[in-house]
Amino acid sequence: MDTLRLYFKLIRISMQSRLQYRADFITGVIGVIVMNVVNLGLIGILVNRFVHLNGWTIWELVFLYCLWLLGHSIFSLFFWHIRTLDDYLVQGTFDQFLIRPISPFVQFLGREIQYYGFADVLFGVLGVSLAYANLGLQWDWTKWVFFILAIVSGTLIETTLTLMLACLAFWTGRSRRANSLLMQLNVMIQHYPVDIFGYTFRVIVTGLIPVAFMNYYPALMLLDKIDRSRDWWWLSYSSPVVALALVGITAGVWRLALTRYTSSGS
């Protein structure tokens, strides 16, 4: 509990320091919204031409896109700066976390807040609501619970994968490009249903770097698109389990990485 209180205190300080730049907030929110509108515009053009993408109609694709965005929005609000871990290591500023009698992890997490994430929340909620209405969905409470779980799992999956890749920097010095690669996979699964790609790719985003659990698999369940005659249909229910497993693995990786730390000195 103390840890949590400390974390929120740190977050409040970070927020105050960020709020210095009011104009940046506004351009940031507009920037994020324009980006999302353009992305959906591209999908819209394809659907306009081809009627559906491999069996996914336009509102199903909007749902897929915005379900990813909702999970991502919490990540981008609170955990975006995990990507910048390598800067702390290269510049030697990571030392400050180690000399205080508090968990370095909590200090690092509380270091920054990225308020552009608010735009992701807004856009995600709007998109999912519109999709819900246009698809005529009628969820019972189990689906609503699963929906919330899917979003939280999405956040955890993106956060843990980002952190694990960022920890590469403890060995290689730099990890930004590796995280860009993760972002790229994310963009792909956000825009297109995974079944549009080849088998190898589906195996990778399911088993190796399981980003497909952020939106594709839970969306199959939430949109009643599960085909039970196929093997592996139960993956559609597995996002929370995948997220928990990743949290466990990441905790181990972080602990191992800390033992590797040698200050770059300055």
């Binding site: 507009i30 920037g31 515009g41 491999n54 590796a178 860009s180 690669l181 996979l185 297109y192 549009i196």
Partner: protein, 263 residues
Amino acid sequence: MKIFWSFTRQAFHNTVIYRFEFWLRLVSAFLWMYSIQWVWRTLYTQRPGAFGVSLEQMVTYGVLGMVLETFLDVGPEWYMATQVRSGAIDTDLMKPLDFHVHMLARSTGEMLFSLGVISIPALLIGYTLFDLQLPPDVSTGLLFGISLVLGYLVLFHLGFLLGSLALVTLDIRSISWAYYSLVSFFAGQMVPLWLFPQFLRVLAEALPFKSVYYIPMSIYIGTFTGAAALQAIAFQAVWAVVLLLISRWAWSRVRARLVVQGG
């Protein structure tokens, strides 16, 4: 010319240090090529007639768009923004070299480096794994080359203008998200302009962005030939000159009100 090469050499040295980065960039290019060709293939099985061109042309267009990005997008705006934020821009301004020429040399040097080190391997992957076709004949290849140089100049100056904005706003990160997605969209990098609905098509045809990807790639796959190709190249040339003039004018304006933070 010598100064272009010195930046190429510098980019090479930086990359030798982070060799891991090289591999990741190649993997990234591979992933983009892989995904775009799957999208087009799947859509083709759905409605073969809806492309307006053959599947080979469509896949070539898509894969080429990803290869070109590996060297075209050198991003002078990031160098400018970083220099402004750290205050180091004053050392750039003290150099006995016009800043705009300096940026053009730096970007072109880095572009040549990426072309040799990332794009050529990516191109080979495209030819062997993803059915990227060669241009139909030598003259098409030459026109494509000219068009590509002009496309690069257009993109460089758009980036330079964005970078100049950093002198006013101090940060361009948030603006850049909107900028990149709009450029990629209206340039037809992923989806060619001929698939756009009418009202968007009219808009995209008028904007300079199509010079970057759509025109060179349309020449490459042979949808722009003869007079149409020359007309498209003229369009690019006009925009390249216009953007160059705007860039020089804008730079002289923002430079006058430069605020250097830090020291």
